[in-house]
Amino acid sequence: MELSQVATIAGKEFWDRIRNRWVLAVALVFTVFALVIAYFGAAQQGAVGFRSIEVTIASLVSLVIYLIPLIALVLGFDAIVGERERGSLDLLLSMPITRFELILGKYLGLAGALAFSTVAGFGLVALVLSAQLDLNALFHYFGFMASSVLLGMAFLSLAVMLSVLAADRTRASGLAIAMWFFFVLVFDLLLLGALVVTGGQYGGDIFPWLLLLNPADVFRILNIFTLDDVRTLYGLATVFPPSLAEPWLLTAVMLGWIAAPLGIASWRFGK
């Protein structure tokens, strides 16, 4: 593998997103949402203004779990199929570059853009709030930012996989939307449904493991279990064994969610 080829492709993808202000727009969306949540998140309880970092992060997690997978899927779904459909793929592949280098470059460039938006957007909020945050709170907030980046990387990897598997852009976009619905909306409902139908008698032991099959859930657990105060806010805490809640284990699972779809994509693209 020649890293310079990967860097050339990645550089183009990244600068394309900087130049067309994609990065700026997404970062602004994150900043605005995070500020609104930090100040008005507790409005239902009859109070406005920044309350605690735990409550803010819990609210942000609920937002990010919808938003980031959607943004990542939209960003990546046409990475390969778009080039194929426009007709620029043949020229690209006639260059001294392997298909793996091309996919990896595309992924890293897009991942860089998404990570940059996430860190810049939420980082700005951390700056705004810095007066009210102690070191421990900052640590939690950075954990939230890092896990948000990982969540984006995982769904971007899934999106790039779709862009290789799909025959055209229309199908790729349909699959991306279906994937968002499945992981973000349907998956938890199915698990809950299964638990309720069986009266909780079966599956209780494997339930936590099943949650690892959804990167969005991994992200949720990663954030809840690093915040002792918030654990009890979620019913999940009662079914999720602490042994599985190790941040390093959850991070490893997330890295797996990044590597596996990319692996499938490059295997399929190479055929």
Binding site: E2, S4, T8, G87, D90, L91, S94, P96, I97
Partner: protein
């Protein structure tokens, strides 16, 4: 037609070939897109590949570039297989202009060349001169989005010339160019050939290719049906020639009868013109007859069969 027509006098020894295709086939299920093609293109040759849509020439083109793996057979460029571990070295010797080239709308002309130069490990310094060479220096800083079809084609051509490739693969390169630009394009090609660059070109404008290629291959149904110089193919096909003779009205009948007595395949006579179609073997007999007519012949024009005639001879 069962066997490939090879123009024997021009058939090269495959030893010195820079592009060598041996028994290359590409099957999609039962469809034989390319079916047992053998080709050898010599260094510095301007080689044409023609055929109807679906004849298999684009597939063969992509196989030669290593974009599509062959079902069977071997393809080597400069002695190295186009796929496999040595592909990178092969790719660095190649320039490719795809049919209806698509570039990136959001980049400027110069940025486009810089991007591809990086992929080819070519210094970016030469990109400006390359734009100059294809007549795009004035538009170097404009985005490709604002380029006309012809300008995109020129930029695509400049991209193919990056890094002084030894072999150029040009798929319908003159599409979208005006006649003046086509002329300039072939001036550049001739310059490249003089430098020893091998050029493989496809075109659907047969008259355009006919004037310019050293040799050509005619493809139909996935096979090379004919291979050789245009002249050799005409001779091998034994297509008839036309003699157009202009005569004074007073001599019309005499000339018509004199030519009509020869073994001609067809005769058309009207309005002071007598046209006869003859087989190549009768060519000199017609000249002899015309010589005896002396000054009764006001003007003479001999029409060789065109590449279209050759081409459609294989398509029928």
């Amino acid at each position: 037609m069962e066997s490939t027509i090879q123009a024997a006098a021009e058939a090269p020894a495959s030893a010195g070939a820079v592009v060598r295709v041996r028994g290359a086939s590409k099957h999609y299920g039962a469809v034989r897109a390319v079916d047992g093609v053998d080709l050898a293109v010599q260094r510095g040759e301007l080689f044409g590949l023609i055929g109807h849509n679906g004849a298999g020439k684009s597939t063969l083109f992509k196989m030669m570039l290593g974009l599509i793996p062959a079902t069977a057979g071997e393809i080597a460029i400069d002695g190295a297989p186009v796929s496999g571990s040595g592909f990178r070295a092969v790719r660095r010797k190649i320039g490719y202009l795809p049919e209806n080239v698509v570039l990136y709308d959001n980049l400027t002309g110069l940025e486009t060349l810089h991007f591809f130069a990086k992929l080819k490990s070519v210094p970016a310094a030469g990109c400006g001169a390359l734009l100059e060479r294809v007549g795009l220096a004035h538009a170097a800083g404009r985005r490709v989005r604002e380029y006309s079809k012809g300008m995109r084609q020129r930029l695509g051509f400049a991209q193919a010339l990056l890094g002084r490739p030894q072999i150029l693969f040009l798929d319908e390169p003159t599409t979208g160019l005006d006649p003046e630009a086509i002329r300039e394009f072939y001036v550049i090609l001739r310059g490249l050939r003089a430098e020893g660059v091998t050029v493989i070109i496809t075109s659907h404008i047969l008259a355009e290719i006919q004037e310019r290629v050293d040799r050509l291959a005619i493809m139909a149904a996935g096979k090379v049906q004919a291979l050789g110089t245009v002249q050799a193919l005409r001779e091998a096909m034994d297509l008839p020639l036309w003699f157009d003779v202009r005569v004074a009205d007073s001599d019309f009948t005499a000339v018509r009868d004199a030519l009509g007595s020869l073994p001609v395949a067809a005769i058309e006579a009207h309005d002071g013109r007598v046209a006869v179609q003859v087989r190549r073997e009768s060519k000199m007999a017609v000249f002899a007859a015309l010589a005896t007519l002396g000054e009764r012949v006001l003007d003479l024009h001999v029409r060789e069969p065109s590449l279209e005639d050759v081409f459609f001879g294989f398509s029928d």
